[in-house]
């Protein structure tokens, strides 16, 4: 009567593999004459004739919990970029035009509604082949509308930022559950073994509770990168030494390997010992890879201009693309400031303006690199906003209050049917009424696109098979190509 998931943790029987057994590695001694990371010191030492015939290590074919794994069925998407619009963007000003609300501007909401109607200060225009209406706040992104599937009928449980953000990121409002990115890297591993499989970018950092792996092994936890910094050692902890150059570190590592080897000669083969040797090599490479990955100056000037890489969001989006391109499985980009209680007519447009060009550039860039087909891009916040003006805001110019009953998100790329609108809200955008989609449904859809039956991607903990969608979730088939 157990779930038949292939991903359940192996039962703890004497012959079944345990987590640490997955670290069994094939370690190879490579002759120094080969190229690779040892090359730096080869020349130096060789030229001086000091350490002839020294050997070094290479990680080859290593199998770690982060190694790529196949999904349950053929997947449409291989990697995910989640642009999290923190603060809950207003649906009626972005992706869900409501002319009736506009007509009612500054009038009391009709019976059943509260407060004074606040018609969107923005105009909408039909764009693309699909003719989907796009708010004027997204002029550049609008050009890509035929790549997007807009879901207008999202709803969530509790309209509190922190709680709804947890819901969006972990599928639970209270309990300690693994985040979406953790589930995805648990299911698929990652293509890049020199970097974490789940990275979240945010200027000012990202609240760790939204990135946690909970009961999943710690390696699947998201790594937060504070993109307000440009120095690599502030982006990733301990990523570089202040006390030794890479050349010196290479020689330290070579000595370390020799000493470890001398030590383990009496101990015969021991997977734990070997795994640790590999970890040092991976760390050494990660220092270089990370430095390179986060250095957007390596991008051509034209690309940097296209992304507006001199702005925080442009920079993040460009870093995100570099990460995805190098095989990081799940990248999240945090873009806050959508909590427009007041002054919405100005603030929301500014907010959208920060992301409009970078995201448009990203979609074009992914497409041009042939990556859009298998990269799932998601944009959205944690809940939506009221169609009426926020009476409590004490602001001179109106904004909107929280609303859990309706919000819009869009998805693009990997397996998404572009130019689609799914679901409807009522005539004022107050509540999702047709084809309602809750957060579990969204999660189920993401997993589906990645090749998983959300009911079967499970992990045995505390005697129960846990899953991202708890006990619900339906795949939104209409947005799947």
């Amino acid at each position: 009567m157990k779930s038949d998931s292939m991903f359940r943790t192996p039962p703890a029987s004497p012959h079944a593999p345990r987590l640490q057994d997955y670290f069994v590695t094939r370690r190879q001694f490579l002759n120094r004459c080969g190229a690779g990371f040892g090359a730096l010191s080869i020349g130096a030492l060789g030229a001086m004739g000091l350490l002839p015939g020294l050997e070094t290590f290479a990680a080859e074919g290593a199998k770690t919990p982060l190694s790529p794994k196949p999904p349950q069925f053929k997947a449409k998407a291989k990697r995910v970029l989640h642009i999290f619009a923190a603060g809950a963007p207003s649906q009626v000003d972005t992706w869900d035009p409501k002319p009736k609300l506009k007509a009612l501007d500054n009038q009391p909401m009709p019976s059943g509604g509260n407060g004074v109607a606040f018609g969107s200060p923005y105009s909408f225009q039909k764009m693309g082949q699909s003719g989907i209406e796009v708010s004027e706040v997204f002029p550049q992104l609008g050009a890509h509308i035929d790549k997007l599937a807009v879901i207008r009928s999202m709803f969530t449980e509790i309209p509190d930022h922190d709680i709804a953000t947890l819901m969006m990121n972990t599928g639970d409002t209270r309990l300690i559950k693994p985040s979406v990115g953790s589930w995805v890297t648990y299911g698929l591993g990652s293509e890049n073994q020199n970097m974490p499989g789940f990275i979240a970018l945010g200027p000012g950092g990202v609240p760790a509770r939204n990135l946690r792996s909970a009961f999943l092994p710690g390696i699947y936890q998201g790594t937060a990168v504070d993109t307000q910094y440009t120095q690599i050692d502030k982006l990733i902890e301990n990523i570089k030494s202040n006390y030794a150059s890479q050349l010196e570190q290479r020689r330290q590592l070579d000595l370390l390997h020799q000493l470890n080897e001398a030590h383990s000669q009496n101990l015969r083969k021991d997977a734990q010992l070997e795994a640790r040797l590999e970890a040092f090599e991976l760390a050494y490479q990660m220092q270089m890879e990370a430095t390179d990955l986060f250095n957007i100056n390596k991008e051509p000037e034209a690309v940097r201009q296209a992304y507006a890489a001199n702005t925080p969001q442009g920079r993040q989006m460009l870093i995100a693309r570099r990460l995805l391109e190098r095989g990081v499985r799940f990248v999240q980009v945090w873009h806050g400031g959508w909590d427009n209680h007041g002054n919405l007519a100005v603030d929301l447009k500014n907010r959208a303006g920060e992301i409009d060009q970078p995201v448009a550039a990203l979609l074009a860039d992914l497409e041009q690199r042939g990556m859009l087909d298998d990269t799932l891009v998601i944009w959205g916040g944690e809940f939506g906003r009221s169609p009426s003006a926020d009476a409590n805001a004490m602001a001179a110019r109106p904004g909107r209050n929280h609303n859990r009953d309706a919000f819009s998100i869009w998805m693009a790329g990997g397996g998404i049917k572009g130019g689609t609108v799914y679901g409807e809200t009522d005539e004022f955008g107050a509540r999702a009424v047709t084809n309602r989609v809750d957060v579990h449904d969204l999660h189920a859809t993401i997993l589906h696109l990645l090749g998983f039956d959300h009911e079967k991607l499970t992990y045995r903990y505390n005697g129960r098979d846990f899953r991202l969608t708890n006990v619900s979730g339906n795949v939104v088939k209409a947005v799947v190509a």
């Binding site: 009567m1 038949d4 703890a12 350490l51 209270r174 150059s245 050349l247 383990s264 005697g463």
Partner: protein
């Protein structure tokens, strides 16, 4: 007992009962009940019944087998049974596994041939089904419970009888060995040889105190050849206060201990650390385990209990506060108690009867009632007064100050609010007038919106609305002019106001109002502002008067007194009441945030100050303890039956007593810490065994339920559990019992043949090699560097604060939501979960920590700063010392050879730049004119006033001062981090009073790139484009042109590097000014010995214990 919840469901369905069955023979009924029903229940109901899917699953394929009706109706693919015709029945086809697309039960859980035959026979009989309508709800729980009655973990512990085993070579030293040897023999295995003495003392020392032995301790132990040597060693270690710090931490893992509350705000607990200190003390004092549990669950209920021990209640209270969700908090408490002490996962039963274990929902809510009848007092409890020392005095003085500052702020904020009420009177008047003029109507929503957008308070606005309305019907001595003028449109106001106002001169209005009307206002806004000023003026006068002798007398000026009455007379509509002030005060986010921040600062201060009185985060009984309803499917609004507060059915039977003593926590503690409870001792001895061997006898330490792994040595587990209780629940005696066995003292060496037979070493044919956990690793590194601070107890320290604290890791702050990266990287126990066994992962972040963390580098530097190290000059002696300190052994010849070679060669090898954003270094150097290269470069070692200094010479971000020696120059050194083509820009300016300066740029590869003299002027220092390779050094040297005391200059050149292979990439600019670093942020190269010591700290031999 039947599951009440199931019966409940059954009742609901009875009402809709349909009965269409034909009469069956007793044989038919029996055949169904004996043969068919069990197959359905055990193999099909998970997916094809109401009960199996009640916690949210779907009925698969639309097919229900739990009712007769469902069975005959079939599922989405039609009927599944053709009575009398097995071959035509879909159900038979499915269980036969003949069709690849239809195999049931799925996932290769094919039924046995006998079961299939029974089903075939049954269908042939016509599929007789005696069940009556949809009411047939099978009690899955009862089935599981029946299975559980025989489960090993719930059996009583009998007095042990160790097996007799032929001990041919004296291996058996303890009854433990008899159990181990018996099982090994069964597999034709033999134990490993005894570990060598150095391994043994290292193993025992790490095991018991989490630190390595000192070289002297090793020598003493090796020299002690008496039979009691190991026993004495164990005693010494158990007596060490370091023991409690090591073993207390394991318990803290279970207790999901943290110093902060988690949730959104993640505030600190005040007094969490007293629980940590209690646990350490309990282990050090060898508090009997049963008492230890009693205190942690019910210290407040134990008659005459020492107040200090109330800290033990942190076991219950220090969990995540789940944003104050009471049900989640209680679930967490039930979880921590049931898992830690009983290794049962009770929280599954929060929503439904446990799927595997005999724990019904009723049991969960019995415990829920217990914890819901207890509470956590907000301020905890003072368990020890702060001493009279200076720290305690400093604490109370500062606390008083902080609290006063908070009170002052609150008082000040209220005063501000009040002042603002008067100063904004006109704003309210204006808003109400605008509303009346509005074309949008004047309903509640519009009104709120307008007031909100102008920052006005609704309640006060309502008062104004009423007052102004009154002024329209009965002439007001204060508002009459307003009423008249406010109706004018803005465009006509200025023209009409003067004539209207004329009549108020000397009219029947308050003289102060009259005074302010002239000269006539030009706009209604202006008039409103004058009212505001008038109210403020009155308030200012009153403030002054009220501070004087007789505050009850009112204002002397009758006209102002009349205005005052408007706001101060309790019957007045505009009465400024305390309630009104509170209302505005409470809605002000700015005030609220500030108060919250100040509150929080006080909490953090109380939580972290060493002089604070010791508080405990305690739990006490509520005055009105009561039983709870079952929450059906975990939903509090869906009440099931009452669950009396009492212990678990599976452990104390159907007729167990109901708890009567307050909340029942004391009785719960008694039931848990009882000799008649077989789980409590088994679970604990298994935990102790696990930390000595790396694996438990039961490998799922937090789950002894029906689906847990069977013990590898059940009889041994019971032997240990029994002796544990016989020894008075002494944990220390258990350590000694285990460690004195030959099983524990085996070598950790591998045996490939055995590893084939028993790869997991379940039979204990050797000692497992274990990796140090984070605490042991960090403590060890500090310890061998001679830096470990052994101060015990007190408020937590931040392990990642700079300078790094040198306390033991167990005293580190455990912040639920901001756990330091180093803890996370090294598998530290998740402080939100009861952790019985930490993960052991190997990830690059661990290596990065050992390679790059300043904490580790500092310890490497400390190691070679040790006086015993620096006293040695012979490199080989130094290597030997480090080996003794770190590994407690002598190095082999190979190791000596490798080590000496490294420290000999390393200083002569190229260094290149440290990877970083500022590849600049600062030093003094000389130029070799013959070789046309720099001859020497010595880094400056003093950084002060934002400049590097060496004698009179200095370098700042923008310039510097040349040395007094003519041949020496200050050198700003740059090292290339990539290949490319470079150009240099800059201006050398002589700013001193001497004879000028000479600038020289030298490349390590190409020689001089340019030379310039500046003498009371500025010269451009551009070098033509040149190729560079990674690691090339460019030195910017500045010499004095004859000034004996050196000379001042400014020169902050910029190197611009382009990539000739890809011209589109942005050129990299290395600006000497921007790249200037010094002091704490500076980078420096470790010397060879320091680097060597760091390597030793990274080795496997240090981190793995054999």
């Amino acid at each position: 007992m039947k599951s009440i919840l199931f019966r409940f469901t059954a009742l609901l369905f009875l009402a809709a009962s349909i009965n269409s069955r034909a009469a069956l023979t007793p044989e038919e009924t029996q055949f169904f009940e004996k043969k068919i029903q069990p197959i359905f229940v055990n193999n099909c109901f998970k997916c094809h019944s109401e009960a199996g899917t009640k916690d949210g699953g779907k009925i698969k394929g639309g097919l229900r087998l739990d009712t007769r009706e469902g069975l005959f109706k079939g599922g989405d693919s039609g009927p599944v049974i053709s009575p009398g015709k097995p071959e035509a029945s879909l159900l038979i086809k499915a269980v036969r596994y003949v069709d690849n697309d239809l195999k049931m039960p799925p996932s290769d859980k094919k039924l046995s041939d006998a079961q299939i035959a029974d089903l075939e026979k049954w269908v042939k009989m016509g599929a007789p089904d005696p069940r009556s309508g949809p009411a047939t709800v099978i009690d899955l729980y009862a089935i599981e419970k029946a299975k559980a009655t025989n489960h090993w973990a719930f059996q009583k512990i009998a007095p042990p009888q160790p097996p007799s085993v032929a001990d041919t070579n004296g291996w058996v030293q303890s009854p433990i060995d008899k159990y181990i040897l018996t099982e090994l023999r069964k597999q034709n295995l033999a134990p490993s040889k005894k570990a060598d003495k150095v391994s043994l003392i290292r193993r025992a020392t790490f095991d018991l105190i989490g630190l390595p032995p000192t070289p002297k301790e090793v020598d003493d132990f090796v020299a002690d050849t008496s039979p009691e040597a190991f026993s004495k060693l164990i005693d010494r270690l158990l007596d060490s206060p370091r023991y409690g710090e090591r073993w207390g931490r394991y318990w803290l893992d279970l207790a999901r201990y943290a110093d902060t509350k988690g949730s959104i705000r993640d505030e600190s607990f005040v007094g969490s650390y007293t629980y940590r200190d209690y646990v350490i003390r309990a282990f050090n004092e060898d508090l009997p385990y049963d008492k230890f549990l009693m205190q942690q669950i019910a210290a407040d209920k134990i008659p005459g209990e020492d107040k200090r021990n109330f800290a033990a209640l942190g076991f219950l209270t220090l969990g995540n506060t789940f944003n104050n969700n009471n049900d989640d908090i209680i679930a967490d408490r039930i979880d921590v108690v049931s898992k830690t002490t009983l290794a049962l996962t009770m929280t599954c039963a929060r929503c439904h009867d446990h799927k595997f274990d005999p724990i019904p929902t009723m049991d969960y809510y019995s415990w829920y009632g217990i914890f819901n009848s207890s509470y956590m007092p907000e301020d905890g409890m003072i368990i020890e007064e702060g001493s009279t020392n200076s720290e305690a005095q400093a604490f109370s003085a500062q606390l008083r100050e902080k609290k006063k500052a908070l009170e002052d702020f609150k008082k000040g904020a209220r005063a501000q609010v009040k002042k603002k009420l008067f100063a904004s009177g006109g704003d309210y008047m204006l808003a109400i007038r605008d509303l009346e003029h509005s074309t949008n109507g004047n309903n509640g929503a519009i009104r709120n919106n307008l007031f909100g957008s102008r920052g006005l308070n609704n309640r006060w606005a309502d008062a104004w609305t009423a007052e102004l309305k009154k002024a329209r019907s009965e002439p007001s001595r204060i508002f009459a002019p307003w009423i008249e003028l406010a109706d004018f449109r803005d465009s006509e106001f200025a023209a009409r106001a003067p004539s209207v106002l004329a009549k108020y001169r000397g009219g029947n209005v308050n003289p102060q109002v009259t005074r302010m009307l002239f000269p006539a206002p030009t706009s209604v806004k202006q008039l409103a502002a004058r009212y505001s000023r008038l109210f403020s003026e009155m308030e200012a006068r009153w403030e002054q008067a009220a501070a004087g002798a007789n505050p009850n007398a009112g204002l002397a000026d009758a006209s102002f007194e009349e205005i005052r009455q408007l706001f101060y007379k309790p019957s007045s509509k505009l009465h400024v009441s305390d309630g009104l002030i509170d209302d505005i005060y409470n809605r002000d986010n700015r005030i609220r945030n500030r108060v919250r921040d100040m509150d929080r600062a006080i909490t953090e201060f109380e939580a972290s100050h060493p002089g604070a009185p010791r508080r405990a985060v305690v739990m006490l009984d509520k005055k009105d303890p009561r039983d709870s309803h079952v929450h059906i499917r975990g939903s509090a609004s869906d009440s099931g039956p009452i669950a009396p507060r009492r212990f678990l059915e599976v452990l104390s039977g159907d007729n167990r007593p109901v708890f009567k003593n307050g909340s029942g926590r004391y009785e719960l503690a008694q039931a848990i810490a009882s000799r008649s409870n077989p789980l409590t001792p088994r679970v604990m001895v298994n935990r102790i065994w696990q930390e000595h061997f790396g694996e438990g006898i039961v490998r799922t330490p937090n789950d002894f339920g029906v689906h847990s792994e069977k013990p590898s040595h059940p009889a041994l587990l019971d032997y240990l559990a029994w002796t544990f209780m016989e020894d008075g629940w002494s944990v220390k005696k258990m350590h000694k019992r285990i460690m004195l066995s030959s099983a524990y003292q085996q070598s950790a060496d591998d045996n490939p043949r055995y590893a084939q037979i028993d790869p997991g070493n379940q039979l204990v044919w050797r000692m497992n090699r274990r990796r140090l956990d984070f605490e042991a690793l960090r403590d060890t590194v500090l310890y061998i560097g001679g830096k470990l601070d052994t101060t015990m107890g007190g408020p937590p320290v931040k392990l990642d604060a700079v300078p790094y604290p040198e306390r033991r890791s167990v005293y580190g702050l455990v912040d639920r939501t901001k756990l330091p990266g180093m803890l996370r990287a090294f598998d530290f126990a998740n402080p939100d979960l009861c952790t019985g066994k930490r993960d052991v992962t190997t990830v690059p972040q661990q290596a990065l920590f050992l390679m790059n963390s300043p904490l580790i580098v500092e310890q490497a530097v400390n190691l070679v700063k040790r006086p015993d190290f620096t006293a040695m000059t012979n490199p080989e002696d130094r290597v030997r010392l480090l080996y003794r300190l770190i590994y407690q052994r002598a190095p082999t010849d190979t190791e000596i050879r490798l080590s000496l070679k490294y420290v000999d060669i390393e200083p002569r090898l190229p260094k290149s730049a440290i990877l970083g954003d500022t590849p600049w270094e600062f030093g003094i150097g000389q130029f070799d004119t013959a070789a046309k290269r720099i001859r020497s470069f010595a880094p400056m070692d003093l950084f002060t006033n934002n400049m590097w200094k060496a004698g009179v010479a200095s370098l700042s971000a923008t310039g510097g001062h040349t040395p007094s020696v003519a041949q020496s120059a200050v050198v700003r050194r740059w090292t290339a981090t990539a290949d490319g083509r470079a150009t240099i820009e800059g201006n050398l300016q002589h700013t001193g009073t001497g004879l000028g300066v000479q600038g020289l740029i030298v490349s390590s590869r190409g020689g001089p790139l340019g030379s310039w003299a500046a003498n009371h002027n500025t010269v451009p220092t551009a070098a033509p484009a040149f190729d560079i390779q990674e690691g090339d050094i460019i030195d910017f040297m500045v010499f004095s042109r004859g000034g004996a005391a050196g000379d001042d200059f400014t020169w902050s050149p910029v190197i611009i590097v382009t990539d000739p292979d890809d011209p589109s990439t942005a050129p990299q600019r290395f600006d000497a000014n921007a790249g200037f670093v010094g002091g704490a942020t500076s980078r420096y190269h470790l010397n060879a010995w320091q680097k060597y010591a760091q390597v030793l700290l990274q080795t496997n031999e240090l981190i793995f214990v054999n």
